[in-house]
Amino acid sequence: LLSKGIEMVAKREPKESSKHDVERLVAEYREWLQAERELHPFPGAELDAFVQSILSPEALIGSAAWGDDEEEEPELDGSNAANGG
């Protein structure tokens, strides 16, 4: 079964056009990011400050983002990120 799956994936190599599309997207994004960096030179600190302004550490207690902590959706949960997502 595994080899069949691999074979199917191998058959589905992306077209060259999709690679070119992504390269163009990435180039446009880099241009945008360069301009943003001049206005926001410390994006990591900005992210930290923003998250701290919208969430308190208490929101992290327990591993469930939704519902009661007993009914987990661990595969989407950051505190259990190594197991899914």
Binding site: L1, L2, K4, G5, I6, M8, V9, A10, K11, R12, E13, P14, K15, E16, S17, S18, K19, D21, V22, L25, V26, Y29, R30, L33, E36, R37, H40, P43, G44, E46, L47, D48, A49, F50, V51, Q52, I54, L55, S56, P57, E58, A59, L60, A64, A65, W66, G67, D68, E75, L76, D77, G78, S79, A81, A82, N83, G84, G85
Partner: protein, 194 residues
């Protein structure tokens, strides 16, 4: 294409020009912002995620976020915001209950989510829209192919969808904290922490 597994603990491993980033790394990075004020639950993953984002910027690599990963990210962050609101209620409410009882509150979260998206973009992530990952060939339709990836590679639906989207975009490199994703290394370069 035959892929490889690369260990991000190895400083000699360089990131490619662009790489699909799995949801777990982004969520871990966002939540690691709170670790300064909390006994850290996952110190290792937290450091790894923060280090990965630093590398994106330092190495001028672009982290591609596919529509499925983006949806998962919003789902988790929205859940945390609802949980936060529920903690402020008396008696305290869970996120699911807040979601059912306070639809007006959810509406107020729109600017917060938009701002978070923008700040993550400044941190090296390019969010790719759904129309970019539409079917590029017709060998197997999405519905059949999803089953193939889930069953043959032993992946959950989210992981399988991210792989399909990466492939449609023509990207062969995935960064993840998920050990299951290594099963796809026959066809993708998997960047992870071994």
């Amino acid at each position: 294409m035959a892929g490889n597994v690369f260990d991000l603990n190895d400083p000699a491993v360089a990131l490619p020009d662009y790489i699909v980033v799995d949801t777990n790394i982004i969520v871990e990075r966002v939540l690691s912002s709170l670790n300064v004020r909390l006994p850290v639950q996952n110190p290792r993953q937290s450091r790894q995620a923060a280090g990965f984002f630093q590398r994106l910027l330092l190495e001028n690599s672009v982290g591609i976020v596919t529509p499925t990963a983006y949806g998962e990210l919003i789902h988790v962050i929205l859940g945390r915001l609802l949980k936060e609101y529920g903690l402020q209620q008396n008696p305290k409410l869970g996120a699911r209950e807040v979601h059912k009882r306070f639809p007006g509150f959810i509406k107020t979260l729109e600017p917060t989510l938009r701002s978070l998206r923008l700040i993550l973009a400044r941190n090296g992530l390019k969010f790719v829209s759904m129309d970019r990952v539409e079917l590029v060939d017709a060998i197997a339709p999405f519905d059949e192919y999803l089953i193939t990836l889930c069953c043959d590679f032993g992946l959950n639906v989210g992981d399988a969808r991210v792989l399909i989207e990466a492939q449609r975009l023509g990207i062969g490199s995935i960064a993840t904290m998920d050990g299951d994703m290594q099963r796809a290394s026959a066809n993708f370069d998997i960047y992870t922490w071994l």
